[in-house]
């Protein structure tokens, strides 16, 4: 009698059918896992590390302090006084001083610009329609 109950449980449990989850079990699970793994693992990475930025900042400040201490604030003294930019600008702008343009040229340039921007919107709409 003592062993009878054990036999009963053994028999029933050994013959016990396995339970089955829903038909979509694996499909649902794989969707969850794919959603989890497909999440963009984008992490913001600065172009320069904090240490580089700090060292650049410090060296720039040091340079400014050095230049001020060496040459002072006054631009009429020392090294700054020797800089002459006037000659360079005279050469560049000098040629334009006598330049004049006809009205036809001005209107044609304006019209070209206008049509160009009109086309940009048309072209954009066209590419949106055909390529996406």
């Amino acid at each position: 009698m003592d062993k009878k109950w054990e036999e009963l449980v053994d028999k029933l449990m050994n013959e016990a059918p396995l339970e089955q989850p829903s038909i979509d079990f694996t499909k649902n699970l794989m969707q969850k896992i794919e959603a989890e793994t497909a999440q963009p693992k984008f992490e913001y990475q600065p172009i320069m590390s904090r240490a580089t930025l700090v060292s650049i900042g410090v060296s720039f400040l040091a340079l400014v302090v050095f230049l001020i201490s060496k040459f002072g604030f006054n631009s009429n003294e020392g090294w700054f006084a020797k800089l002459k930019f006037d000659a360079a600008f005279d050469n560049v702008w000098g040629g334009f001083e006598l330049y004049t343009s006809s009205k036809v040229l001005v209107y044609s340039v304006l019209l070209f610009g206008l049509l160009f921007f009109a086309q940009v919107t048309r072209l954009k709409r066209y590419f949106d329609k055909t390529h996406f």
Binding site: K4, W5, E7, P21, F25, M30
Partner: protein, 192 residues
């Protein structure tokens, strides 16, 4: 501990082959679902916990060293996930105390069982399991899953073999009594 086939499957999964994981899931889903269902006593919850179990397995596959059977490792995760869910729910399962041992006609039960179809058997077992505590339900289920291998069960449940033996005896005895009662009830009902 692992067969070549298992090793191949595992390395495929680790290599990022999600289809291989689908094959792996199909292989173990019934066992995991059966264990969680018997512990939780609710199909929807068992399905959710089974899904959580397989997600955990997927995420921690790298930590599986292969020093135990892969099924044992899976059962341990399923068992712990179920226990966590029970704790979260704080839902106490109704336990039936059977400290009385009566001389019962087990033979009658045996005959009745023969006539039961699979579906009924499954329902009966689930109903009886529902009257055990979640831990006891797991212990009994794993005892038969692992073909009575207490050493594997020790790894899954983190209990010593001696503790296991005691708990197993009580749980099986209790289950026998529950089965006895519920089945005798059915026999009496059907006989009018």
């Amino acid at each position: 501990m692992l067969t070549n086939k298992e090793q191949k499957l595992l390395s495929d999964i680790r290599g990022g082959n999600t289809h291989a994981y689908g094959v792996f899931v199909d292989q173990y889903k019934d066992l995991v679902y059966t264990l969680t269902l018997r512990m939780l006593g609710n199909r929807e919850e068992a399905e959710e916990v089974s899904q959580d179990t397989f997600i955990k397995i997927f995420n921690s596959l790298d930590s599986f060293k292969g020093d135990s059977k892969i099924s044992s490792w899976i059962y341990r995760i399923a068992y712990n996930t179920s226990l966590d869910r029970i704790k979260k729910n704080k839902k106490r399962r109704v336990e039936v105390d059977f400290d009385f041992v009566k001389a019962k006609a087990y033979a009658d039960v045996d005959n009745a069982m023969e006539k039961m179809v699979q579906q009924e058997k499954s329902e009966l077992i689930n109903a009886c399991m529902g009257k055990l505590s979640a831990e006891d339900a797991a212990i009994v289920t794993l005892f038969y899953f692992e073909e009575k291998n207490l050493v594997e069960m020790e790894k899954i449940l983190n209990l010593s073999v001696n503790t296991l033996k005691v708990r197993l005896f009580r749980a099986r005895k209790k289950l026998a009594d529950i089965m006895q009662n519920s089945m005798l009830g059915e026999i009496l009902e059907s006989n009018g």
